[in-house]
Symmetry: C2
Subunit: 287 residues, 2 copies
Amino acid sequence: MGGAVHEGASERGETMAESKAEASRGRGTDRVLDILDFLAARGTPCTVPEICVGISSPRSTTYLLIERLEARGYLEKVDNSAYQLGRSVAVLGKVAMKHLDFARFIRAAVQQLAADADQLAEFVALDSWKQLVLMAAVARRPSYLLSAEGSRHPLPRTASSRFLLRDFGRQEILDNIDERDYVLRDGSVMTPDAFIASIESARDSDVFALHGQVDPHLACIASPVLNAEGRCLATMSLVVPLVDFEGRFDFYADHTRRMAKAVSEQLSLIPAGREDILGLLLKARTD
Amino acid sequence: MGGAVHEGASERGETMAESKAEASRGRGTDRVLDILDFLAARGTPCTVPEICVGISSPRSTTYLLIERLEARGYLEKVDNSAYQLGRSVAVLGKVAMKHLDFARFIRAAVQQLAADADQLAEFVALDSWKQLVLMAAVARRPSYLLSAEGSRHPLPRTASSRFLLRDFGRQEILDNIDERDYVLRDGSVMTPDAFIASIESARDSDVFALHGQVDPHLACIASPVLNAEGRCLATMSLVVPLVDFEGRFDFYADHTRRMAKAVSEQLSLIPAGREDILGLLLKARTD
DNA sequence: GGACTTAGTCCAATATATTGGATTTGTCCA
DNA sequence: TGGACAAATCCAATATATTGGACTAAGTCC
């Protein structure tokens, strides 16, 4: 949505403009939720005009609704005239958190994936331009693998990075990744262009596998965790000894994909660009 | 609001019922927030009919609004047909919590009170039919006082209890308080009836003081922290050596009252009967 | 200090959200 | 199986929430 629109010929343009577009009225209930979602997505206080453009609603309506939300403690005015989510929302969230334990759900998913595949499973996100392992679970067999929660890896070495970097611009990627990170485990060097190309090649896939990049004896397979708009928030990933991996790509891919989808549903409403919320949700201690 | 209403004579009652009440239409935006607040106040999943009576709204409207809320992740269906607050609300709450640190505010208030009065100040709630000190702050002078965060005291000994028990029924109070708790510090025994009477006597006050009950050399003064409906959620309290207290009641009462009011504003939207939310809010670790 | 931009308020016209009640669907038990 | 009750859906009538635009207030910039 929002792509460039082909302009009609100018003489026709007038005619089309004449057609009463009859933009239908918005609904108050939707607008109220739009306002809340918008402020959550921003994360910083916003003025009423900012909110107006952010949710594209008329000024009169917006002022009215914001007044009502403020009266009920859903919004609070900070400084002079910027609003942010209010105490009612905080209380509501606390109550919601009692039932909804995101951290537990994701951990269960990681453990399930580890059990299903009988391999090391990870839940991975982007942090400071490294791959950060947020959760990891080993299968029942004892694992010699080094990956642990909290560990960071250079992005070009990881399968997950192909999805995690998908929504960044080429230049941004080139600017932020340390050039030492392009040195792979076997000592060979990947060119930034090859890396970008690799990211592009994964754009339309829902799994991506690397063999021997992290470790010469390991394969790594990842599947993206997406929000409602299709932005990649994180990945589910398996680390598999090459000896197990041969000829079983589909098996591992299927399980990884399935769990990534399940987690995506849970996290689908995290707004694009607010992956920090993911961190907050995982830190939740609910009782 | 909600006090007992004098019924008119029965024959007049009919006449009044006849008057076309012309109940004006409700507003969708309000109803949406009503639903969220109601579910937060309940804390358990509710069916649509339950919500209808809970917020007294027509069925058709309620089904419609709930459907919209569910579509946006603000509500989730559990089991077959009961709803509870959804993941959107949890995310919203997380974001709101970044700005709104209730724990910090209350702690600041307790410390302020301690500094203003130059005495031990406490933020106190009811827990398992004891008085629980949730937060405490000492004035700049070193204090020999024993009170500490997490400590529990028998209710009849405390000034705070007169407010904390205000909204409970006589029988409930009698049933739940251990009879040993009626033994005061000096060894004398307060009768349950005297305790109930004491609670009643404090009902219309916004401060209550006890001399020498907790300790023969101490006075204790408390002021209630109220929610929007006037329910007592907690108290702000000062513990003062009797030697300092003499002739300075107004000074201590004023400060205690003022801080209790300030905290009340912060907590005013905690629903009656959900004091557990207070615990959740205080535990919030926001970064 | 005057012109210009941005923020906020107010109001009448009308598109539509809300509503009661009828209807259908589901559930429970005899 | 059927009868009774509750839950959920549907629908037309109308009360009203939404809206554009006019208007005022408040900054901002030369």
